[in-house]
């Protein structure tokens, strides 16, 4: 996944954009849990900031308010001050765009302060590795939205079986790793459609290139993909998919016709 807004020549994106992960998901969560106040926390770089821009619009559109917005550097280990702010803000939900170690430490501390039962958490980069680090007992009421989870679905069951047969049952596959597979599949689809691998030809043929993979049907449009988005809830050390949002557009507008190669 990425933040969107990049249209460099010869680049095609198969990752989720904030528009896909947030725009329909946040209103659904807001309605489902009657959320009135959201708190936003993320690491301090472009992806969380762009995500929060989209999130704020979605939150306001759903009739809720944003009661806090915090950015922390990567190497922070102690979130006590921020957690104090979150508790004092009386938020009902926290939108998390922390990555890597920050996400693990934050969520563990969050739970240790007894906040898991007071507010729900929703993150877009809490993939399976991070979830393991957070630990089952600290992951109550934790949601994630992504185009792939390592929980078998109709489209992904066989793929996951082959993956585990080759790499072992304990190998963890998350959306980040799986995206590399999607990238190759997309390239294959585009090349077949264009019957060539030159950048100009690929670009011209990209709109409409499509295949059916572990994520389901994926179609390229404006050099981004239209695909299913899954909302999952943490259950133990894995995710259970609770809602599928079919075939969401990316809302990106990269040129892809004859004029763009």
């Amino acid at each position: 996944m990425y933040e969107g807004g990049d249209c460099a020549k010869g680049t095609f994106f198969v990752g989720e954009t904030p528009a896909q992960q947030l725009t329909p998901v946040i209103p659904w969560l807001t309605a489902q849990h009657q959320i009135k106040r959201w708190f936003l926390i993320g690491n301090d770089y472009i992806w969380p900031r762009k995500s929060n821009e989209v999130a704020k619009k979605a939150i306001q559109g759903a009739g809720a308010t944003v009661v806090g917005e915090e950015y922390v550097p990567f190497d922070v280990d102690n979130f006590d001050a921020v957690l104090g702010k979150i508790r004092d803000s009386k938020a009902d939900a926290v939108f998390i765009t922390l990555v890597g170690g920050s996400a693990v430490t934050f969520n563990r501390s969050f739970a240790s302060f007894g906040l898991s039962d007071k507010m729900i958490r929703f993150g877009t980069m809490i993939e399976e590795n991070t979830l393991i680090g957070i630990g089952a007992s600290n992951a109550r009421n934790l949601y994630s939205a992504s185009s792939f989870f390592s929980t078998p679905t109709a489209t992904s069951a066989q793929f996951l079986e082959r993956y585990h047969k080759q790499f072992g049952a304990s190998a963890v596959l998350s959306s980040i790793g799986e995206s590399t597979y999607e990238g190759i599949r997309m390239y294959d689809a585009m090349a077949r459609k264009a019957n060539s691998v030159s950048i100009g030809d690929l670009t011209k043929a990209s709109d409409g290139a499509s295949y059916k993979g572990p994520r389901g049907v994926v179609t390229m449009k404006s050099r981004n993909v239209t695909a299913d988005i899954f909302l999952a809830k943490a259950s133990g050390a894995r995710y259970d998919i609770v809602k599928t949002f079919s075939q969401l557009g990316s809302a990106e507008t990269c040129a892809s016709g004859a004029d763009a190669g």
Partner: protein
Amino acid sequence: MRVDFMLLSYFLNLGYACAALALTTIGLAIVFGLLGVLNMAHGEFIMLGTYSVVVVQRLGLPALLAIPLAIVVCAVAGWTVERLLVRPLYQRPFDTLLATWGVSILLREGVVALFGKGYQDVTGADGASVNVLGTPYPAFRLAMMLAVGVAFAGLAAWYSRSQTGARIRGMVANPLLARAAGINTTRLASGTFITGVVLAGLAGVLLAPIVRVEPYMGLDYLLNSFFVLVVGGLGSLLGLAVGTFVIGGTQVAVSSFIDQTSGYTTVLILSIYFLWSRPNGLIARR
């Protein structure tokens, strides 16, 4: 009413930050402060402690068994490192720095080879909380803070009164004279080093349920410990206490009132200033 609540939270956060800092620094305070050995693998011994808990939990054994496991693992590793690397290089601080750094890489990559690079989950600090004057606060953290306080008081009393404490002080002040007085400095130094790294391992055991556990976690602890010792002063528990309060307090204060990045930056700048102008710290012992 509101102010009281926030002030109390603030002090609890400060207490936890200082307790965690003191806990993870004491090992280096002994090794660097007393023996003058720049142990760059200090953070990795803490990491070994946390992974002891991981191992014990994976084997389904009671979590308390992690304590003897951590002690054994760190003692063996510490003895080996001291014997093979630290002892021959006592007079060469750069080489000790590099040798222990090599050890840190070795320990890190060894753990990666055995456990993989991913995060490990250590259970034990679930959301059970205790009411502290009206504010809920995680019980595990409170217990940890109390344990650290008691342990330090005990350590201070022991060091100032015991014979071993006197011998260590003698050895540090004048090794030649200490040997002439019949103190087996080689064994004393080895024992001191092992004690330092074992304390680091035990810190890891105590923190495992709270912090994130992965092979590269050690570096942050190493850096913070160095900052505490540089500012507070090497060679005394008072220096350790002062350093802990200054560094921990600065970080919590600036983070609460401005933001976390500024907190970290302030600590860095403070440490650079002390390194430059008062390398013996606030409580100079040597």
